[in-house]
Every structure is written in C-alpha cells, then in structure tokens.
C-alpha cells in the first residue's frame, strides 16, 4: 500500500516567448507510508518543482502538463465517517478518486488542494529560516495552521498544541510568544518543523532541510526529522542537492537530472551499485561517499536550460560515456539487477526496483571503473550547447 | 511735527493698475473706503444749509420696491469689526454701514452735507498756538432728534463729545492726521451744541474732522485700549448710528449686515440734500440685508459672480473678465473712474535724475499706446496729470478750450516714435545734447508741437543742469543689452555707471504677479537702452518696493499706484508732492539723521526738497486759500507744474467696471470708485429691479 504514487508527471513553466521549460518530464515514483524518500540532483534539475507541484505550489507560470499524483487521502467533503472516500464519490467519474481510496491531487482545483495542504502534505520550505512571518508570534503562526484545518479546535487547545510541538522539537514552550527575530537560525528551522507537524500530515516534504545550516545543526535537524518520523510514522520526501545528506537519511531515492529521473531505487543500491553516469559524477563531487583518498571532482558543464529540450538523453552533453544512441531518445528505465547479473538491458516497470536510465547499462562495470578517474570527467570536450 | 501731518488718511499705496489680482489681494492697504474728502465752501461763508430735519419718506422713494438680500463678494476677508484699529477697505464695507460721521459727502458734486451734525460755523481766532498758526473754533449742532444707536440706546450730544475725546486720547493711527490739529472738543456755552478748537486753519475740516466716526459712549467708555477691543465679541456687535446691524459674523467666510432690523429707526438717508444731488436716491436703504461672502481668490470671486452666487463684488471686474461680464445678460457693468493714478516715479536725489531734461526723456520713451490699448485692452486711460480725469475741478484743462486727456498740452511727454513702437532715438538724443527743456513755453520738442502750458505755469528748472553727450558704449548693461545701442550717454563727460557705481535701476513687481506691468516696463527699459541710457530692472515684491521707495528712498525709479485721492487736490498735493513729506537726505549726511526717517513719507521723489524742482509755493497757496475757485486755480497750477517738472510719470488712470446683477437697480454710474470708494452710497440706494 503506497502513500503517494506519481505517474508520468510532467511539469512545465510557460515562458513569455511561447516556449515551455520542461521542469519535469514523465516522472514516476512512489512513497510508502513511514518511508523517507529522497529526490537528489543539481539545482535546476526539477526536484523542487516536482515536490511543490504535488500540492500545486508552483510559481504562477508553472503548471502540470500531464500525469497523476495519487495520494492516500481524500477531501473532507468526500469522506465518510472513517475518513475514507464515500462510494458515491469513487463511482463519480468526475471526481478523481480511485477505488483504493487514493485521490489524484493533480486534478484538484485550487480551493480543494488547500484542504490537502498541511493537513496531508506539509512542506518545510527551502529557506525555512525566512519562512516565519516576522510580524506574528511564532506560536500564533502554528495555531493559525491548526485552526485552518481543524476549525473545531478551540483557540486554547490550539495554543496548547503549539507549545507542545515546540517543546517536542526542543524549544521552550514559552518561546511561543516570541517573534521570529528573537530565534536563532536553528530554532527557526525547528519551529518550522514543529509547525509542519501541527496537523499530523502523512507526508512531509523537506526541501533542502540542511542547506545554510552549520554542520552541527545540520545533524541535529536530521536527527530531529528521523525522530519525528519514528514517532509519528510520517513519510518524508527529502529534496537535496547534497547526496551525502541523502545517504544518511533516505530509505529510497531518485536521482534527477534535467527534469528526468536518471536512477532510482533503495539508497544502498544506488550507492553500492551505482548504475548511471550522472549518479557516478554526483558521487564524485561529494565527500564522505567516495573513498577518502580520492579528490572531489565536480561534473564539468552546467545543467541544461530545459526550454523545449530536444530528443536524446538529457545528460548526454556532459556525459563522458555518451554514444551515438544517446542522441536519439532519452533512455528508458532499465533494471539494474538484471544488468549486473546478466549483462543485458531490460526495461523495468517496477518502480520499487533499482532502475537506471542509461543505454550503456550493459557496460556498467567499465563505466563504474572509469568514473572514478578524474580525467574521465575533465578530459571530455563539452558539446556545444 | 503735528503741523505737517494733514494728509488724507485714506490714501494708500496701490500696485499699479492693470494688476487686479495683486492689487486686490493687497487692497487691505488701499484705503478704508468711506469716501474722499472735499471742502464745499470757504470757512467764512460756510453757513451750511439750515437744519434739515429728516422729512417724511420721499415720493420717489415710495415707488421703489423694498426688500431682498443683496449678495456681495469680497476677495479678502474683513479681519475685525473695530473700525478704529483697521484701515482695511474690506472692513469698511461692513463698518461704514454701522458708523456715521458728522458730515457726509456726495460722490457727484463732491460737496459736504449735514449728516449727524445739522449745521456748523467756523471762526479764525487771533490767538496763535505753538505752531505760529491761528487757532480756529468750529461751532456745530448735533442732530439728536430721531437719531438712535442701532442697539436702541438714546443718542445724545455727550456721545459726540465722548467720541472726539476718546479718539484724541487713543489716537488711532488711521485717524491720526485728522486728529492732530484738534486741540479740544467741548460743549458750547452759547447757542451751539459743541465747539471744536483747531490749532490751524483748515478749509477741509468738514471732511477731515467731521469725517471721524461717532462712537457710542455706552459701549466704548470702558475700552481702555482701542486696539484690543473687538466689537464682534460683544453681545451686540458694533454699535453705531448707521442703518445696519451686523447679524452674522464669520470673518473667514460670511457676514450679514441687516437693514431690516433698523426699519423705521434710521432717517439720515431722508435728509433733503440727497434729493438735490442728481442720481442720488433718498430714503434708503431699500434692501433687507447685505450678505457678504468671502472668497479666497479673485478667480473664485469672479466664478461666483458669473454663477450668480453673488450680485456684486468689491472694486470691479478684473480686466481679463470684463468681456465675459459684458456678454453676460445677468450682469450690468457700471462705469466709473479712477480715484488715483498709476505712475513711475524718479528719485530726484540721484544724478542725472536731478535734471529736468533727463527726466523728460524718460517720458518720451514710454509707449502709451502699447500700454493702454494693447496690454490693458483699452481698460486704462493714458496718464498725464497727477489728478484723475474725474476730478475735473483741479485738472489744468478746466478753464481752457482743450479737451480732457487729449489736449495737446497734455501730450508734452507722449511717446516719441520714428516708426510705430520704435523710439525716435536720434531726436531724443538731440533733445538732450542741444540742451532743450520743456519749460511750459510753446515750441516743437522732439518733432512734436507743444502749445505751451494750460495754466501759464513754467517748470521750476529752465536750463539743463548737466551737459549731455553720447559716446561709445561702455557700461555692461548696454553692452549686454539685446537692444544693441550704438552710443551711450555721457553726463558731464562721465557715463552713468561711473557716476552712480552702476546703471539706473527700476524697481518692479515679479512678472507672475503683474505680467502686463512687467512687459510694459521691459518695453520702456528697452527704449531707454536704445537711446543709450544704461538702465536695468530689479524685481522686488510690493512690500519691499514700499519700503525701498517710501521708507528708505533707496531707488532710482519704481512703479506703483495711488487710489482714493482727494477730488479737491490740496491734501493730496501736499501729502504727495510737498517737501514737508519728503526726507532730505542731504541734511542727514551733514546734520545727523533726525530729519530723515524710515517713516513712510509719501513724497518719495524728494520733490520740493530742491530749489529747481518743487511746487511748495503753489501747494501752500492752494492749502491756505479759502475761496474755492481761487484754491482750485492754485491747485491746477500746482498740478501742471508737477507735470512739467516730471518727478513722477503718470502712466495711466484705471477704468473701473463695477458689476451689479441685473436683478438690482439704482446704483450710481460715472462716479469715482463706484464699487469701492462710494460703495456706501450705492448700498443706500440699490433696490430690486422692477
């Protein structure tokens, strides 16, 4: 039973000249309850867009082009007394509700999605330090979220809960009456986490939860998230460019590049049996993952603009292993286990399996070896963009 | 100092004509609007018309429709109801309806008539006072029958004696000149009610001393300091013998003077002399009330007039709206004439302005047609003498066969042009270099014939004082001038900037305040520069001009105007052109500065201070002559002497156009200041049109 099931999700940003930025293309992934799922990739790869699109928090010019976002919930007005969708709603072809009780968030209108936000899916935004409104007390901002989704709660109960939540993340309850500017950076971050848990969401999206924090606080925040997950059983969708952070906390992950998922699978699989040139490059550029004596090598070149991208593998322009085939079409997802075991490329439809989008999956061993060499990356001539 | 202070208190400075916007906003200092003085007859033969007990309402007055409210607009707010402390014309609009004086003037014949005083007689005593002048006693009777204060109290002779003594004790600035000759006012032991003692003969006492307001003793006797008294704050408002009662007072926006309140109580308008003056209607007022609305700007005031919110306004329609008013069938425009003149005046203390031919040249350069016809659109008359054309008795044309304003003897200093609007540079220069002067003798001057003076007077100066020549242009102002003169004047071999440390300067208003005036001065300066006279303009505000010219006399030339002059000239001539009213700066430098004050003396030119420019003899003669015709003749001669001596160049007389809504009739036309000086007369006879 999955909590979130994203099918062929494509997101576009409209540009003034009429073209569209393909921020995410045919993305598939799913998150299980209680699982920590990571979306990793360089900035601009579409990971944040993807996450925000789940609850329609895209910028004004962003829109879902295609795809489905099935989530294990339903709208209050569609629910029976158990919180499950009524049969009549499931039967109604105009309502995006499936027999298994999931609702397609992509089809909800803006009023409907507001009921999903925070109650079912909470977001800890990238700049969580600036996410607190300077003119309101921190406690009041938590109360606001509670009262929004649980109007039957009294103000006192809500305040009590806000103080408990703050205490739960290690902030003195009395600080609820303070303003954001009276908090330190880490406290603000934890206050936002507390706020995110205010309505007991099933999924917590943490966008770059550790960026801009010093290492000690980073660790504490990560511990905090893990502890919350254990206590509340919440699923966490972590978004980060920092593959080392991902290694630490994620159960499963998807590596994204240029709006496409390049490799996905269990975290250990991805790190131990890396099966995509991009993932290999990314690993090279982060410490702690690679062996200690190896120098950090970043991938030369810059991510593509994604404006009306042409056919072909998105990564081919920076890929030292690109071959003729790569220019024709973006590769499908191949099963890695099959490739490793049998040395042949088999397309996979199992989204829980370790898969990778690379035509040269049959040459994995060679690629893994070459990728460790710095010269493999630095010597290549970058195709003109 | 008291003996030289008998000028009219009602004369005030006024920005030159053609600048209605400015003069109106400054009109607070343009006079108190209660009429000009005149002297009707010599003191000796002054047995005024025997007592005229108010008679029953006149026949013609019976036919006049009564009632209605006359809405009147003002562009400046009245600031007090204390007639003693304010000389504002706008206060006068109200207080003149409240207060009455001993004698009254009519605006048609300029004669003094009985009013609160029924008759009077004067006697020159043998004894002389400290001033060496004969004392004079004036006996008069007070009309107590049928006269009451507007608050219902009884009016008695003691009110009159109180009024004079109160004024003497308090000596309010606005009345100082009239009060200063009064030694005492007491109850008479003999046949008369009262006797007033003056320390000098004064042919105009009926105007000066009998023109003072009569105050109610029961209201003013407790007022220790007149300046702090505000009648508006009392239970009744101002109390007087007049026809009006102030029934609403919001000085910022609206004032109502009710006449209906006094119905049946006020009878001074029924005095029989009124019926004998052509155009004057006895028996008024015929309106129930006068409602005064105060507007913050001239444009708002005029807008209100054209919208019909007001029936009339103070002074007259401004030039730019005259044609609109003429086209508006709801508005009648009443013609009147100026009570003064606009002028450029020159400082006779400065070389070469101390020399007559040079001053006369300044007149040759003034383009009258440009001013009166183009810039003033015909709403100004070409200026010549220092008495406006309406004051015919003292105009030099009287007694001659020359036409008023147009006679050749009034054109001695008209614009000399070689082609239209271009000054005749060559001949004007020749006038100076050949040593010519217009002295009053007939002749041809700068290409124009002059028949000689009308009265036979000659100028004080007959020969040029300086030697004039023209040489290369050296002074900065001419070198930088757009006129590009080919030569520059030399006075006794020196350029004017060498003599005076700079060019001559003309003080004038900022162009935005008085655009036409500024344009005219620019044209005049251009003409002078073409001739080769280095002159520049200096833009200063009205008030600064007053201080610079009248207070400090530190100027070469300035432009300004006079209003509310006396129709019988003597006081005006004395105040404006007699050496008694000028600072003699040459004295100050040698004998300390007691003689020179920063007091505003009206004779800013210093005319009369110098032997070769003055009319003191003629002015003194006019002042001491008691026989009216002889006095007028002396005045006419003084006026023409001043004309020839040219200390001041009269540039124009205004042509007032006073608007009155067609709903109203009865207003007098062709009088001086129909909407200002004699507004009081108008209010007494305006009535609803039939």
């Amino acid at each position: 039973m999955t909590l979130l099931e994203v099918n062929d999700l494509s997101i576009r940003y409209a540009v003034d000249d009429g073209s569209a930025v393909h921020a995410s293309d045919d993305v598939n992934f799913s998150v299980e309850p209680g699982e920590t799922y990571g979306l990793v990739g360089e900035s601009g790869c579409g990971k944040t867009t993807l996450a925000k699109s789940l609850v329609h928090l895209l910028d004004d010019n962003g829109y879902i082009e295609d795809g489905e976002v099935w989530f294990e919930t339903t709208l209050p007005q569609w629910a029976d007394e158990n919180g499950d969708p009524k049969q009549s709603v499931i039967d109604d072809p105009d309502k995006p509700v499936r027999a298994d009780g999931k609702t397609d968030l992509a089809q909800l209108n803006s009023k409907q999605i507001r009921d999903i936000r925070w109650r079912d899916i909470a977001i800890i935004p990238q700049s969580a330090m600036n996410a607190l409104n300077p003119v309101y007390k921190v406690g009041d901002q938590i109360v606001e979220a509670i009262l929004r989704h649980e109007p039957e709660t009294t103000a006192e109960e809500a305040h009590e809960r806000a103080r408990d939540l703050l205490e739960r993340v290690g902030i003195e309850p009395d600080r609820a009456d303070d303003y954001a500017h009276q908090f330190s950076g880490g406290m603000k971050q934890r206050a936002v986490i507390a706020m995110a848990m205010a309505c007991g969401p099933d999924l917590l999206i943490a966008d770059e939860p550790t960026t801009a924090l010093d290492v000690i606080i980073q660790d504490r925040i990560l511990e905090e998230l893990e502890a919350l997950q254990e206590e509340f059983g919440v699923s966490i969708l972590v978004i980060s460019h920092d593959i080392s952070v991902m290694a630490e906390i994620c159960d499963r992950m998807a590596v994204m590049y240029g709006g496409k998922v390049m490799e996905s699978g269990r975290t250990e699989e991805i790190f131990d049996a890396t099966a995509n040139p991009y993932t290999l490059g990314l690993k090279n550029s982060f410490p702690t993952i690679t062996s200690k004596d190896q120098d950090l090598v970043s991938i030369p070149g810059t991510p593509p603009t994604l404006r009306d991208p042409d056919e072909g593998c998105r990564f081919r322009e920076r890929c030292p292993f690109a071959v003729e085939e790569c220019h024709a079409a973006h590769p499908p997802m191949y099963d890695v286990a099959t490739a490793d075991a049998e040395g042949r490329a088999v397309e996979s439809t199992d989204r829980r399996a370790h898969t990778t989008a690379c035509y040269r999956i049959d040459e994995l061993e060679q690629i893994r070896t070459d990728a460790i060499n710095e010269s493999t990356w630095t010597d290549q001539t970058i195709e003109s963009r | 100092m008291s003996d030289n202070q008998s000028g009219s208190t009602r004369r005030r400075f006024l920005q030159g004509t053609g600048v209605a916007a400015v003069s109106a906003s400054l009109a607070g200092c343009s006079g108190n609007g209660d009429g000009d003085g005149t002297e009707t007859s010599g003191d000796d033969e002054d047995t005024p018309t025997p007592d005229q007990t108010p008679t029953e309402a006149q026949d013609d007055a019976d036919d006049i429709p009564t009632g209605g409210i006359f809405n009147f607009g003002m562009g400046t707010n009245p600031n007090t109801l204390n007639a003693l402390s304010s000389s504002s014309a706008y206060v006068g609009v109200i207080t003149d309806r409240i207060y009455e004086s001993g004698a009254a003037i009519d605006p048609v014949n300029f004669e003094m008539h009985p009013n609160v005083f029924t008759d009077w007689e004067s006697e020159v005593l043998d004894e002389t006072g400290d001033n060496g002048q004969s004392n004079v006693e004036i006996y008069f009777n007070v009309r107590t029958d049928g006269l009451t204060w507007n608050d219902g109290e009884e009016f008695t002779v003691s009110d009159v004696i109180f009024s004079y003594n109160y004024l003497l004790e308090q000596n309010p600035g606005g009345y100082a000149a009239s009060l200063s000759p009064i030694v005492s006012v007491e109850e008479d032991d003999g046949d008369w009610d009262c006797v007033m003692t003056l320390n000098q003969p004064n042919g105009t006492f009926a105007y000066d001393q009998f023109g003072l307001p009569i105050l109610p003793e029961h209201r003013w006797s407790d007022v220790d300091d007149y300046t702090t008294y505000e009648p508006a704050d009392t239970d009744f408002g101002p109390v007087g013998l007049g026809p009006g009662v102030v029934t609403q007072w919001d000085p910022d926006t609206s004032v109502e003077v009710s006449f209906a309140e006094r119905e049946g109580e006020y009878n001074l308008s029924e005095l029989s002399w009124r019926e004998e003056v052509p155009g004057v209607i006895a028996g008024g007022p015929f309106i129930d009330a006068m409602r005064i609305r105060v507007y913050s700007s001239q444009s708002a005031l005029h807008q209100a007039l054209f919208q019909g919110d007001i029936d009339s306004l103070y002074e007259g329609v401004r030039t730019s709206r005259i044609s609109d008013a003429q086209e508006d069938e709801n508005i009648n425009l009443l013609d009147g004439f100026d009570t003064g003149y606009g002028h450029y005046s020159f400082n006779l203390r400065n070389t070469p302005l101390d020399d007559l031919p040079f001053r006369q040249v300044l007149g040759f350069a003034f383009d009258d047609v440009l001013w009166t016809q183009q810039l003033q659109r015909g709403y100004a008359q070409e200026g010549d003498f220092v008495m406006p054309p309406g004051y015919t008795a003292v105009r030099p044309e009287t007694g001659s066969d020359q036409e008023l304003l147009d006679g050749p003897s009034t054109q001695a200093f008209s614009f000399r042009q070689s082609s239209p609007s271009v000054p005749d540079v060559e001949n004007i220069r020749a006038f100076l270099t050949e040593g010519q002067v217009i002295t009053g003798e007939g002749g041809t001057y700068v290409g124009q014939d002059y028949p000689g003076s009308l009265t036979g007077v000659t100028a004080s100066q007959t020969e040029p004082k300086h030697d004039y020549s023209f040489g290369p242009v050296e002074s900065d102002v001419l070198q930088e001038s757009d006129q590009d003169p080919d030569q520059e004047i030399r006075v006794n071999g020196e350029t004017i900037p060498e003599i005076n440390d700079g060019p001559l300067t003309m003080l004038m208003s900022p162009a935005q305040e008085a655009p036409q005036s500024a344009q005219m001065i620019q044209d005049w300066i251009s003409s002078l520069q073409q001739i080769g006279i280095p002159i520049d303009r200096e833009v200063v505000s009205f008030n600064t001009r007053v201080t610079r010219a009248y207070g400090e006399e530190s100027y070469d030339a300035f432009s300004m105007g006079w209003v509310n002059l006396s129709p019988f000239a003597t006081n005006t001539l004395y105040s404006l052109f007699h050496s008694d009213n000028a600072d003699d700066h040459s004295v100050a430098e040698t004998e300390g500065d007691d003689e020179n004050t920063s007091t505003l003396l009206n004779n800013a030119m210093g005319y009369g201070v110098f032997d070769d420019a003055g009319a003191d003899d003629l002015i003194d003669e006019a002042r001491t002559t008691l026989e009216p015709e002889a006095r007028n003749q002396a005045s006419r001669e003084a006026v023409e002497r001043i004309y020839l001596d040219f200390p001041t160049m009269v540039v124009d007389y205004g042509v007032p156009k006073w608007p009155v809504s067609a709903e109203w009739s009865g207003a007098l036309e062709n009088i001086p200041g129909p909407g200002s000086t004699y507004l009081g007369t108008q209010i007494m006879q305006i009535h609803q049109s039939e």
Binding site: P125, P134, M195 | R12, L26, G28, G173, T253, A300
Partner: protein
C-alpha cells in the same frame, strides 16, 4: 503587546520638543531676515514718529534682538502667539478657529487616501503584471502627474457648475435657512467637504499606492508568504494577513512624507475651495506681512508634522516587532 518602553517614549518626546525649539529659532531668524519690518503694514503715511515709536514699542521691536528672541521663545512655549496686527485679535484665537477646519479636511483626506492607496497597492502588487495591474497602474500614474488644483477645478466644473450637485466652497452653508443641530451640522459639513475630499483623494491615494505596490510585490517572494500558501490558507488570507501586513511597514514612513505634501497642497486646495483653514492664512499673512500670524501658522504646521512623526514611530513599533525602540539603547 507593549513593545515601546516608557523611557524610549520620553526620550522621543524630548527630541521632538528640541526639534520644535530649533524650528522656532529658525522661524524667528527667517521671518526677521525678510526685507521690511512687519510693522510696515501698520504704519500709514501720515503717522508721526511718536506713533510709530509707540507701535514699535507695542510689538517689542525696540528691545534688543536677543531679548526679542527670548521673549518669543517663552511666549510660544506658553501658548502666547501674540496679537495679529491685521486681524486685531490674539493669534491663538485665530488658530483655534482655523486649525480644526484644516484638520477636518486634511485628516479625512489623509485617512481616506491612506486606506484606498494601500488597498489598491496591495491588489496591484499581488497581481503585478496582470492586465488589471497594468491598466490601473498606468491610469494612476497619469492621475499622479496632474496638478491637484487642476483636478479640483475639473471637479468643481463638473459637480458644481455643470451638475450643481455639490457646493464648491466653504465648510458650512453661509446663510442657512435651517436650524443648527448636531445632525444638520454633520450633514452640512459632509455636503461641503464632499467635493474637496473627492478632488484631493482622486489623486491623493496614488502616493501611498506607489509605495505599497512594489513592497507588496517584493513580499510575495518572501518565504513566509510561500509557507502561508503551503499551510492551505486562502489566497485572501495570505494576501492580507501575511503579505500586506508586512508591506504596510514602509507605507507608514511614507505617511509622514505624505502628510508634509498634504500640508503643502493645502495652501492651494484651501484657496481653490475657499476652505477657511491654515493654508489660506499662510498666504494672506505672508502677503500682509502679518508676522505673528505667519509665524504661528508655520509653527503649528511644524508641530503637526513633529507629532505625526512621533505617532509614526510608535505605530511603527506595532507594525514591525523587529523594531524595538529603546531596548538596546
């Protein structure tokens, strides 16, 4: 909620007071350095020197300048503004009569302008770039470039001259046919104030809108606005409670500046609408050289601005809790 310490407030009041002392001194110097003494207007041509001396005496002009200065400072601080030579009345009476009229007109204008302006600025800033924003914004810029007296004349022409709906002058009916009661006074003032307020606010709101719109737009990019959306709050709640509330802070500063401009404009507007307030008297007192009145008028307007600044400082601490005056000092 008290975020302002008594100590700080006291300090600010002292500073305001010192500011006023400086303004008073400046006024004293400025008005006395104008050419021509103010008694010029009181002296008529025929006065004797004794009389002139007496006038000088009355007005204290014979005292040495330092003495005049000290008297002036003491008098002003005790509310004694002297007597007006042209109005022949205590200046204080004049001010008491006129000040409320100006306060009513410009207080109302100020309030309305600062309600409409930020509201419109909020919508335009929120929907920046939309068609509505573009059209309203460019229209308002066009309005803003129009001189206020021109608009006033236009309104007078339309609503008074052509339609005859509203009076174009005065605060009350001058010669009323009705009895003055609390109700008729209110009705009459509203009737008369309508046109000036319409004219003034017609363009008056643009100033605060111009401050609000860009700050509003900036604020929409702030993290807390995103979070507010993410919390599921309605668009309206996010816009008003989270975005506009923060964008208002710079508008408060603009309010003081706006007030200063309003006073500036009052000179013109009071004259156009014949509103017998302070703006009118500034012009006439300067023209008439009525120094006591001019002095008091300028002074009171300065007091108004200083008080407004003080109020803004206090309001500021409530608008923005990050500003905590007086704590760190």
């Amino acid at each position: 909620m008290t975020r302002i310490s008594g100590k700080y407030l006291a300090k600010r009041i002292v500073v305001s007071y010192l500011t006023l002392l400086v303004i008073m001194s400046l006024l004293f110097v400025l008005l006395r350095s104008m050419p021509g003494s103010f008694i010029t207007s009181m002296i008529s041509s025929g006065m004797t020197n004794e009389q002139i001396q007496q006038i000088r005496e009355t007005w204290g002009l014979n005292e040495p300048l330092w003495r005049q200065y000290i008297d002036f400072m003491i008098n002003y601080q005790t509310g004694n503004f002297g007597r007006s030579p042209t109005y022949n009345a205590p200046v204080a009476d004049l001010m008491i009569r006129r000040m409320p009229r100006t306060l009513v007109l410009f207080g109302a204008t100020f309030l309305i302008g600062f309600i409409i302006g930020p509201l419109v600025g909020m919508y335009l800033g929120w929907w920046r770039g939309s068609k509505k924003d573009k059209s309203i914004f460019s229209t308002s810029l066009l309005l803003y470039s129009m001189p206020s007296f021109w608009i006033s004349w236009l309104f007078i022409w339309v609503f008074n001259y052509e339609l005859g709906w509203l009076p174009s002058a005065y605060m009350f009916t001058q010669f009323p046919e009705f009895q003055w009661t609390a109700f008729t006074v209110m009705r009459d003032v509203l009737y008369h104030i309508a046109l000036p307020i319409m004219s003034l606010t017609f363009i008056g709101w643009v100033g605060s809108m111009l401050i609000m719109r860009p700050t509003m737009n900036q604020v929409t990019d702030e993290g807390y606005v995103f979070l507010a959306h993410a919390k599921g709050l309605s668009e309206r709640t996010v816009m008003i409670k989270h975005a506009a509330r923060n964008a208002l802070i710079p508008v408060a500063t603009g309010a003081v500046v706006g007030l200063a401009f309003l006073i500036d404009g009052s000179i013109i507007i009071e004259n156009v609408f014949n509103w017998p307030g302070m703006g009118q008297i500034i012009v006439t007192s300067v023209l008439n050289r009525d120094f006591p009145v001019a002095q008091a008028t300028f002074f009171l307007l300065a007091v108004l601005v200083v008080i407004m600044r003080l109020v803004t400082d206090v309001v500021y601490t409530y608008l923005d809790p990050r500003i905590k005056f007086g704590e760190g000092e």
